[in-house]
Symmetry: C2
Subunit: 232 residues, 2 copies
DNA sequence: GACCGGATTTAGATACGTCTAACTCTTAAG
DNA sequence: CTTAAGAGTTAGACGTATCTAAATCCGGTC
């Protein structure tokens, strides 16, 4: 049996593995889910018993094949829902996260298929994140890095905006910080502000945002760079 | 705080009050929800504490204003979802119940409004049941009775089909037993079979189905009889 | 008016997911 | 090599929702 809460843990662990690599520590998981460390420990024990992850006491966990499949299915639900809400129900990109976060655990396989085909099987969600395919293979991650890993003078293309906060997202969209946009880093100030420039205009970002904006080099720009992001 | 499970209890009590009138007994609720009587007792105590219903020990419960509002909101979600699935995601009328049953507890007010307006605020769901309005006033129930309350020779119009079983629903649709259809009862056989006739054809129904098909007299037919039922 | 049967409630137990408080392990510094 | 800080775990508890088994209530029958 797997519950909505187990799905949240597995999804979170998947994302942490993606960002920092396995093994993932108990506190990182607890923080991400806003629970206490003992709560996370308990749940990790349980997930390990069900062979959804491998657990090394005092060190961390790593998803098994099976655990990863459940994580990917949950993420697929989440991102398809986000895309659907934007495309068919006029949601703005900053509004979709919370709605998708609840619904992702409760839609049927059938529902998933229907919205996927209604959307014509989009490769990415409104934030530029890849939507896992129905076979639940881990998507091949593009060669992207946070904006904050780049230096002044470099020109990059925004791949995805991994920001949750609605207000920040609304601001970023207004500023044109959306997937597909090409930007040049003009300057990184001593206080960490990123001064950016695109065709038309210049804009500034604090470092905290630069951590969550993933980009690829404009040089290494592939065809994927021109993919349409639904609804934006 | 109200949970998905509390919503299910309140919704069930509302439906039982609608069909049999208050007070509603513990076992009826327990049966409808497939739980044991002690489980229902416990939950009813809790709902009474939260002033969602009035409870007379050993006798039964009756929804308060507040409890009824929650029930109606849940039912509104359910029926709007059913209508949306049929209209926009190509579901058949026998497929929508289970999907809506899960999702009804997890959609936001915002989502509710968006699908309602996308559907142009339909008055009824695909089974002909009225959709409570956003202000959560109890809908004025049309003057309908089960088909099984009628006699041979009477002509009636189907108002709603309160059947859950998918296979039965598929059969009924094939047989043209859908909301809005006018039928004449040709004969009720000694074993309870209803032999029906419409413009085109004749068909038979067991009594168990006749209990769940709600009709109004063709004589008393109002304009409401010609309401479009979305997607059928 | 006592009694019986069915409905209802009480009592005690379990599983899940959470908490705080206290303890233990690992690691990096000195 | 020792130790202190921080990460992780154990212990004990709580609230929700469920169960089975046992006790109790209520309405109708004789």
């Amino acid at each position: 049996m797997d519950t909505a809460i187990m799905e949240d843990y597995l999804k979170t662990i998947y994302e942490l593995e993606r960002e920092r690599g396995p093994p993932v520590g108990t506190s990182a998981i607890a923080d991400a889910l806003s629970v206490t460390a003992p709560t996370a420990t308990r749940m990790l024990e349980k997930l390990a018993e069900e062979d959804l992850l491998e657990r090394e006491k005092y060190s961390g966990v790593e998803l098994t094949e099976h655990g990863r499949a459940i994580a990917l299915e949950t993420i697929r639900h989440h991102r398809l829902l986000e895309a659907y809400l934007v495309e068919h129900l006029d949601y703005e990109w900053e509004e979709v996260h919370d709605e998708a976060e609840r619904l992702e655990h409760h839609i049927s396989e059938d529902f998933e298929e229907r919205i996927a085909s209604e959307l014509d099987h989009p490769p990415v969600d409104p934030h530029g994140e890849p939507i896992p395919s129905a076979d639940l293979e881990a998507p091949v991650e593009e060669d992207v890095e946070p904006l904050s890993a780049h230096k002044a003078g470099e020109t990059v293309v925004i791949a995805s905006v991994r920001e949750r906060d609605a207000e920040t997202l609304r601001y970023l969209e207004e500023e044109g910080i959306v997937p597909g946009r090409e930007l040049t880093i003009v300057e990184i100030t001593p206080v960490g502000t990123y001064v950016m420039e695109c065709e038309c205009d210049s804009r500034q970002l604090p470092e905290s945002s630069a951590d969550r904006i993933y980009v690829r080099s404009a040089a290494a720009r592939s065809d994927a760079a021109t993919e349409e992001v639904p609804g934006l």
